[in-house]
Symmetry: C2
Amino acid sequence: MTGHGISRNSYQDARVLITGGMGFIGSNLAIALVRQGARVTVVDSQVPGCGADPANLDPVRDQVQISTHDIGDADAMRPLVPGQEVIFNLAGEISHVNSMTNPLRDLAINCAAQVQFLDLCRAVNPHATILYASSRQVYGRPQYLPADEEHPINPADYNGVHKHAAEQYHFLLRRQFGMRTICLRLGNVYGPRQAIDQDCRGFIDAFLRIALDGKPIVVFGDGRQLRGMTYVDDAVDAFLRLGLAGPEAAPVYNAGHPTPVTLLEIAQTLSEIAGAPPPQLAPFPADRLSIDIGDFYQDTEKIRRDFGWIPRVGLREGLEKTVQFFRSQQKRPPHADPHPVS
Amino acid sequence: MTGHGISRNSYQDARVLITGGMGFIGSNLAIALVRQGARVTVVDSQVPGCGADPANLDPVRDQVQISTHDIGDADAMRPLVPGQEVIFNLAGEISHVNSMTNPLRDLAINCAAQVQFLDLCRAVNPHATILYASSRQVYGRPQYLPADEEHPINPADYNGVHKHAAEQYHFLLRRQFGMRTICLRLGNVYGPRQAIDQDCRGFIDAFLRIALDGKPIVVFGDGRQLRGMTYVDDAVDAFLRLGLAGPEAAPVYNAGHPTPVTLLEIAQTLSEIAGAPPPQLAPFPADRLSIDIGDFYQDTEKIRRDFGWIPRVGLREGLEKTVQFFRSQQKRPPHADPHPVS
């Protein structure tokens, strides 16, 4: 066990807490941490639409402690936080579209709950390393590409505004109280345990759902939009590396695949792998166009330099593993919304 | 009356709404607008500690319509918003210190209420010009001086985080719905109707209160910290100019006096004017030091270039007018907190 934020070299016997640990990335992270010998506590209130699925933790069901409290419920959370060496703070709403139709809900989940949770962390465990799952979404429509961590903040929807505010809460803990908080701005992450059966999420969820259904993927616009597609194991690897960071870690790191691919390429590759018909192009619906940000991919030189992080899984391999996972789970969507955003 | 956001040349007969219109800047703005012939509605829920004082509107009491609703109360606000040509959106909490001790309160006032209010504006009056009173506080400790509008966002307290989120809400309305929203990042504003009798506000409030009491002002640190002290008439002038802006107006403008003065110079000048003993220096208390941002003043070339705004009132003249106002009001503080922040 480490005490006052001293770095350790592995997760063997490390006590870690994962908020949002039933979600897509959180559950993959929990599984990886169990395999590395960590003593994992997962907290997830299973807010509808935020990606939580208890089945995501099936592979490690008996090896993690699971709590279903809201992280904003300080009384319920108080026993769970002390003694955790690393807190992977992934709880949150990620839907861009939902945030536009219900910004107060997004504010409550991404800001109010985080304020309360972080205040508790400060009070009962100020020496933990806290990693926050932020998003490329804080940059909005890019002014230059690839976007590095210095890119201006200009979110295109309420979700991005609130994720940025939550980042700032983490910065405040660092600046005001000397806590070790680090924000990861994730790129477009995809892979096993993605919540493809929940509406109003990212385009890749819908692409997967449609391709697994054997239908043609509909790509909005001309399909040439660029994205940095990040396989979930690579995102998990970024969290694992930064969880072992010493005090030299910066407040914020990009973690998205730096080599962009087009939406059409993604759709075509996925259709091939899944045996679905070729993708089709269609005009952008107005509500999606208004929060679309055009091309986007991140500069990840900073996390490579400081922590040696390089994504190892390319698009085809990642999509193959993803399709294989969902086929093996026979986890299929009850119905499909073919029109999500990027 | 103008219809769809067409610019007008004066406020004669213009219908305007001022949120936070009983507060320091809001009330000065209301008085100026009445004098320019506007038909003024003030809304202010008089949240304790946010600077509201019904007496601030005494000079125009019979010439303004006053509502005491919370701007986040959509049902109550719905009748007040339609038909307003300019909405001066000044409602909010501005205390940096209070935001650190009660961030959820700051979040509710500065974010949740604004989300609801702006959603109402979009629904019932999308053609109004909306001016938001933001703050230099969004920049935090400056990376260079003077700070222009491109300076990185790095607030030093919850209040700055939430003011920035509220700015972003205004940007979203502009980007998503083509609304004419403009954010003014005010500098340190001072002058008549400042809430000097409320604790936990800015240093100038405390300086004024102490000097008016005939006591020595205590300046933290070495007194050499720089600030751009903006007399309230100049801040009001910025709002008035931008309220008449056409669609060419940018999303955000600095509006703080670009010529900095030291805290010691402010204290010395004020003591002289008020006939108080000379200021004293004292070490920074820890809770104030942690959110102190060092020197700060703004580059205001953008608002000068686009709208001809130049502050006209220098430090001595402004402080003289301010002291004269409070002496004439015989409005004196019941007690003094000598240790506020900048």
